[in-house]
Assembly symmetry: C2
Homo-oligomer: 197 residues x 2
């Protein structure tokens, strides 16, 4: 039965939200259109009223996942003085809460390898997300613009790399990797308010 415009829009959002989680959790190839539609409480048939293809959905889902992640980032950085922006970010990004939550975590840490093997359009969307993450982080730093961006990019790369490696390893190895990058962040083993040496 035909649905109203608002109902359709609601369905659209439900599909994107479900896809954003499913793709991160199970990967691109591991997620079927039917899976996503079921997770959105719909049947698979209506899918092509909303998206031209699975890739089209993937692009929308990436956009959504990055939006969510930018929200988490902003929230975590909001109250931090700029000298602690990078280590605050590192601490949060590599903490158990985000590391264990693949479906709700960073799309970079969950989907980089899958996107590598996708179309240029998908990579373009992914790249937009990456730049937005770097820009957001950089905005919380001090110094000349180019340098802020570079420092943000380096820290982000290290955090994402550590999380990806840790997730793909046995617990012992994961501990070594996460421990190494978390120890690097001043304040990790300090009380709130303390400043790094």
């Amino acid at each position: 039965m035909r649905q109203s415009r608002e109902a359709k829009a609601e369905t659209h959002q439900a599909i994107v939200a479900a896809a954003a989680r499913r793709f991160r959790e199970r990967g691109i190839e591991g997620t079927s259109v039917g899976d996503v539609m079921q997770a959105a409480n719909r049947t698979h048939g209506g899918f092509y009223r909303h998206f031209e293809s699975k890739d089209d959905l993937l692009i929308a889902a990436l956009g959504r996942a990055f939006e969510e992640m930018l929200g988490v980032l902003d929230q975590g950085l909001a109250e931090l003085p700029s000298q602690h922006a990078l280590d605050g970010f590192m601490r949060r990004y590599t903490g158990p809460e985000l590391v264990q939550d693949v479906a709700g975590g960073c799309p970079v840490a969950a989907l980089s390898n899958d996107v590598l093997r996708s179309t240029e359009a998908v990579k373009a969307e992914f790249g937009r997300g990456v730049r937005a993450m770097i820009a957001t982080l950089a905005a919380h730093l001090d110094g000349p613009e180019a340098e802020r961006e570079a420092r943000a990019a380096r820290t982000f790369a290290m955090a994402a790399g550590a999380v990806m490696m840790a997730r793909a390893s046995d617990p012992e190895t994961a501990g070594i990797v996460l421990g190494a990058v978390r120890a690097e962040a001043p304040g990790t083993d300090r009380r709130i308010g303390d400043h790094p040496a």
Copy 2:
């Protein structure tokens, strides 16, 4: 027709070598048993005389890929003084030669996300490879053991993270990310909140 023991061993190695490349290039789900056998110049039927399952092959292929990568690493580090081990590694790992060669490049940069979604046995093998990479890098550094390992792990995480992000992005974004980590390779020795000199 039945093959001799040596012929079988040769076939076995050919399968592992083909798989090590295919998995890195196309991902785990993107690589079929038939693909691998064809790349090894065999038919798919004989596969189960060599491996119990695709996962079993994956474990062997991961071992092989890490071996290859450790060779590249050792070779690149061999002539470097220890103060330049980390930035030498970083420059090589994030250089166009390795970044563009997904099939022959680092298994961490190519397969982390796929392994994340695999069995514990696969993760254990991956973790072994990660620790071997870190240990090899650390062996080329100076200082107390625990600290050498931590510095190696941090640099490796940053390098792998940057390569994964770059590969999954549009060329412009890739340039930003790789440029940031390459511009200041020695920066991986610094604490995260520090400004570059």
